[in-house]
Each structure stands twice: as C-alpha cells, then as structure tokens.
C-alpha cells in the first residue's frame, strides 16, 4: 500500500499529518509555497503558555518529515478528481496523482493597515504581534528603542463587523499576555498595558499565565478597546480607549503599540479549493462537514482539512487535528 496523499501546506498541520501518514504506510507528499517548511510557527520565538521555544517543536517536526517527499516554493496550480484519484499540476509543471488530498493551508495574518484608526503603516511606532515576535527572535526592531510604555490592542481584525470578521481568533489573547510578559522581561522598567474586550484563557495553564502576567510582571490589563491612535509632536502615540470596567474614557501616551492581529483564512488557496469543491463557512474559513465528528472531512470525498484552514486554532489544536486527519485518510484509503 503505497498510495500518494497530497498535503497542501507545510506548516504544523501539514508536517504532522505527513508524519502520521508515513507511519501508517502511506506516501504523503507536501506542497509548500514558501521556501521552507514550518509555516507561521517557524517565525515564532516562544509558545504560550509556558514560554517554550518554538524552535524545539519545529525542529522535532522537521526531523520527523525529513524523509517525506516535499516540494518547496511550489504551488498547486490545477487539480482534477477522476473517479477516486486526484490529478494535481504543480507550479513547476510536475504532475502528481494522489488518492486523497489534505488541505493544511493554515491562515493569513490580518492586514493591520485595514484598521485605519490604529495607524499601522502610518505612525512609526505601531507594530503587529508578528513583528514583535520577530523582535524577540532577532532582538532587532527599530521601533523598539528602550520603550517606557507599551500597549497591546487585542482583537485587531477579529470580533469586528467593520472588517467583516465576526469570529474570535482564539490565540491572540494568550499571545498578547505572553508577549506582554516577554517585553517586560526585556524592559523591566517599562509599563505594559493590554487593552482587551474579553480575555479568553481557554486552555490548560493559560489562566495561570494570566495571573502571572498580572502578579509577577505587573502588566496592566485594561478592559476596553483602543478606538483611535494619533501621533504627538515627539512621535509618541496618543491612544484613546474606554476603561469599560471603570466607565470612563482613558487617554495615554505610549512609546510602542502592538496590534494583536487576528488569523484570517489563507486566500491563496481559493482557486484550488474551488476546484476541489470545498466551500467556505460564514467566517470565510473552509467548511468542514461537521464540527464534531466530521471536522476533518469536507463535502468532497477524498478531500480532507486539518489545522487553521477551518478556523483559528492554537498549535496543540492543530497538531491534534493533523493526527486525526491522518486516521481519517487511512480509513478512507482502506474503506
């Protein structure tokens, strides 16, 4: 049994699904559009809730897929289903036949400039959570210059009908608190504020992280959304928000403002997704057949989904789904 399984996307979901499928005796093939495997997680410095280095996880995952046939810098440009096999054409003109397709295309980061009132791309010291993570990884970012006051805005591009994203992006709350602690580690004298609408600490150890953020790191969590950002004469950011717990508007000057950008559906796969007959759900992510028992299945036989392509997910969620998709594919092949 050496059936080809086409896995589109070489991030956490794609790599983990490939690892499991290979162990099951199938032949996974990973198509990754960027120049390396690892996806978003490879760009991350440390993981919540326990500040675990992302590198450790990524390296282990990479090691597990070292024998998996992988195409880098490659996209699927066309795909057809013929009876029970799929014929894919890659951007390098290679053709691949596979018995099943796993969509593990993950997410895109919300384009922060779309929330114009936050002035990303206009004010010098407004940055995104992804850029801050890069700073933690590399120690370099010209916006971060011994800041004294740092603010985090939650739900940028999430839970916001104004940008047509009404869903919760799930991981940003915990990420914000993690990053707030980390920036406090780098600049212990800085005052750090997070502006949240709700703090959704849904996983094990997350609430502990929240407590630690407040108690050990003295991060000030303010319930209220930053509504507008301006720049003052010194290039510092003047923000306005309401402290909704206090019932009064706040105004303060910050040196750096970090926008916790939401996950959005990775749209670069739209054309292929359409050809495979996989629809989107109301949040714009891929529609699986049902959220309980069919979370890896789609309306199309032989086409499976895993990871953040169906909804914003944390890394453990994604890995769990990748493992379950492998079982689904295996059962499908041996049906």
């Amino acid at each position: 049994m050496k059936e080809n399984i086409l896995i589109i996307g070489g991030g956490a979901a794609g790599m983990e699904a490939a690892t499991q499928l290979q162990k099951m005796g199938l032949t996974p093939i990973i198509i990754e559009k960027s120049e390396a495997l690892g996806g978003h997680i490879a760009q991350w410095d440390r993981l919540f809730p326990a500040f675990h280095p992302a590198k450790d996880v990524v390296e282990k995952m990479l090691d597990q897929v070292k024998d998996v046939k992988t195409y880098l810098n490659t996209e699927v440009v066309d795909i057809q289903k013929d009876n029970d096999s799929f014929h894919a054409v890659l951007s390098n003109n290679e053709k691949i036949d596979a018995k099943a397709v796993v969509l593990a295309t993950g997410f895109d980061i919300f384009k922060a400039e779309r929330k114009q009132e936050y002035g990303y791309g206009i004010y010098n010291n407004v940055m995104t959570s992804v850029e801050l993570e890069k700073f933690f990884r590399t120690g370099k970012d010209e916006r971060i210059n011994n800041p004294k006051k740092i603010g985090f805005v939650h739900c940028v591009g999430a839970r916001d009908v104004k940008v047509c994203n009404t869903y919760c992006s799930k991981v940003c709350c915990t990420t914000a608190l993690k990053q707030a602690c980390e920036i406090k580690e780098v600049f212990p004298d800085a005052e750090v504020y997070t502006f949240y609408m709700d703090l959704r600490m849904f996983g094990p150890g997350y609430e502990d992280l929240y407590l630690k953020t407040q108690k050990d790191f003295d991060v000030k969590c303010v319930r209220g959304r930053v509504c507008e950002v301006s720049e003052d004469m010194d290039g510092k950011l003047v923000i306005k928000a309401e402290d909704t717990l206090f019932g009064k508007p706040l105004k303060m000057t910050l040196d750096v403002l970090v926008l916790m950008c939401a996950m959005e559906k990775n749209k670069s796969i739209d054309a292929i997704q359409q050809k495979l007959g996989v629809a989107n759900n109301s949040d714009g992510f891929m529609q699986n057949s049902d959220m309980y028992l069919g979370m890896n299945n789609t309306a199309q036989d032989g086409v499976f989904v895993a990871g953040a392509c169906t909804a914003p997910k944390s890394l453990p969620d994604t890995i769990g789904e990748a493992r379950s998709v492998a079982t689904q594919v295996y059962n499908y092949i041996n049906r």
């Binding site: 206009i122 507008e228 301006s230 003052d232």
Partner: protein, 356 residues
C-alpha cells in the same frame, strides 16, 4: 509619520467626479456666516476656471439642522431633499454640488438609504408629488464644494499669487486641516481620502505650498454638535470640545486652520474668543488667535483676492498677522467698510484676544 502609508490610503479613497456642469446649492449657515465664501467659490469656478455652475433661486434648506436636532422625521428631510433634486432635474443638470457638509452628509445618507430601501424612495416620490406636484431624478454625481476645489487645486495653484509660505522665513505655513464630521465619517468611501486620513483639505494645503500638521485630536469634532450648541446649557460641552482641540494643536504652533464645514470655522473661530474670556488663554502668538478659515477663503487668499472682499473681517480672530506672514497687502482702513464704502463701525475689542 510614514507618508507612504497615508498616500496609499489616499490612493484607495478617490472618487470620480465630472469636470463641469454642476447644480450648485448654497448652505443656510454659510450664506449667513460667511456669505463671501460662497460668492468667492462661484467666482473662482465660473470666472477663474471657466466652469458651468448653475444656481436656482428656489432651492431651500436641506432640512439637515432640523433633522439632526430631532425636530423633523427622516421622511420630511428626504422630501425636502427630493424637491432639491427635482429643481436640479428641472434645470437640466445631473451633477449636484452642495456648499454645506451637513447637507452633503444628509444627501449621501438619503441616496444610500434609497439604494438600500427602494420602497422608501417610492414613498418619498409620492410625498413630493402630493406636496409639490414635482418629480425628481437622483443626481448622477453628488459632490461637496470642497471636492471641486480639491479637484481643481492644481489649476488654482497655477494662478496662485501668495502661496501658503511665510514670506519672512521662507518656510511653509503650518496648517491645521479640519474636516466636517459629516463629510466622510458616515460614509468613508464618499470622501477624498476616507474617514481616518481625509485628503480633501490636505491636498489643497499641500498644492498651495503649506504644511499640514497632524495633531492628536485631529479627528475630534469642532464642538458644534447640533444638540450641544442649540441648547445654551449644553454649550459648555461644545466649547470644552473645541478647547480640547486647541490644547492639542497648540504645541505645533499652527498658522491657520482650514475647514470645509459651515459650523467648524464658526466654532473654531468664536470659541477662541470664549475660551480667551474664560481662561485668559489665546492660542496664536502675541495674544492673537489662530485664524480658522473656509477653504474658499484660503483659495481666495492664495489667488490674490482682497482679504476684505473675502469677508475675513467677520472673523473674530484677527486675520492681519496671517496676511503679514503671507505677504498679502491689505488696507486696514477698508476692514470695516461696507460694500459702498459705508462705515460699519468698529467692534469693541475683547479683553483677552486681539481683534486687530
């Protein structure tokens, strides 16, 4: 500040508007407060730029003030508007340009509402017929008068005599641009540059050699806020809001404020006097205020109109320091002379803010 970021937004929020042939409607407030501005506008577009802007003596208020003060229902306001459109239609025009921001906002709101609820449009059509026996056609293009000046800003720049430059230092004047709330805050796509970083006035200032200051309270309302101003007891809110803006812009030392709304220049101008009376503080240099001008007045100034013909003497804040900065000659004796040289009398000088 990353200019490229703003330019990208400006590029995203552009609208196509026709070059010529407009049905022009005046603003209730502007023709009372700044009558010369509308005269100047028509003079510029008709005589300096050679465009066709038609006015009809039968047009009335759009009903915006009553509507925003909650004294007439939306249908009434819409019927009034339908009548203006009927006048435009009867005059053979299909491009509508209004002088008032509130009107512009209300026209936009009305057109968008009719678009979403065609049955309402049908109802208003009936109301208009029942009340006036008129039929209307919706304008093909709706623009605000400042959109026109924005559109022709480079043509105006070609005829410019006094750029927005301090003749003594050679440096560009620092200009605060203040957009009327109803210009694009309700419908960002209907204004040049959108709601967050509107370009309509910035474009003019930059085309005429000035430098725009972006201060933290830039987005704030001038303080008019219909319900706040109309009730005397609430005027404290109005002046407090204006005060907040001036406190925020003060460190930038702006030379003038340019506005595109009927109320804004009025409140930004008169409240400077009230603030000075109450706190003793003035925001310009040497006890002067910061002149708050309409875009037509600024256009008129750079094009070399006589300041007193532009009606700058009706501003509370003395204009002379700005004229001197720009090197515009003026005759102080003419300041308080009427149309035929009639002496209008010199107003009393306030305690804290210089009027001459």
């Amino acid at each position: 500040m990353i200019v490229e970021g703003k330019q990208k937004i400006w590029a995203d929020y552009q609208k196509d508007i026709p070059d010529d042939h407009y049905f022009y409607v005046r603003s209730c407030i502007r023709q009372s407060f700044w009558p010369a501005s509308e005269v100047t506008f028509l003079d510029i577009v008709r005589n300096k730029l050679g465009k066709d802007f038609y006015e009809n003596e039968y047009h009335t208020t759009c009903g915006g003030i009553a509507y925003h003060s909650d004294s007439i229902p939306q249908e009434t306001a819409m019927t009034i508007i339908a009548r203006q459109f009927a006048l435009m239609h009867e005059s053979g025009y299909e491009n509508y340009v209004c002088s008032c921001i509130t009107s512009f906002g209300l026209y936009t709101e009305t057109l968008e509402t009719w678009h979403e609820f065609p049955e309402l449009e049908a109802k208003i059509r009936q109301y208009l017929w029942d009340s006036c026996k008129k039929e209307f056609a919706k304008p093909k293009y709706l623009a605000h008068a400042s959109d026109m000046i924005y559109k022709f800003r480079f043509d105006i720049a070609k005829q410019m005599k006094f750029p927005l430059v301090n003749v003594k230092t050679g440096k560009p004047l620092k200009v605060v641009e203040h957009i009327g709330c109803h210009y694009s805050k309700m419908f960002p796509s209907k204004g040049f540059g959108g709601a967050e970083y509107p370009h309509v006035l910035v474009g003019m200032v930059e085309a005429w050699g000035g430098e725009v200051v972006d201060y933290p309270e830039r987005r704030q309302c001038c303080g008019f806020g219909f319900r706040q101003y109309f009730v005397q007891a609430n005027r404290g809110y109005s002046v407090s809001n204006t005060h907040k803006k001036f406190e925020s812009m003060e460190p930038y030392e702006p030379d003038l404020i340019i506005t595109n709304c009927p109320g804004c220049p009025y409140f930004l101008d008169r409240w400077q006097y009230v603030i000075a009376e109450q706190t003793g503080k003035t925001y310009g240099k040497n006890g002067y205020g910061i002149p708050a001008l309409t875009y037509e007045e600024v256009a008129g100034l750079v094009m070399g109109y006589d300041p007193w013909d532009l009606g700058l003497q009706v501003h509370q804040v003395a204009i002379e320091p700005l004229l001197e900065k720009m090197g515009i000659p003026y005759d102080p004796k003419r300041k308080y002379q009427g149309v035929n040289g009639k002496d209008l009398g010199v107003p009393q000088c306030p305690m804290h803010i210089k009027s001459v």
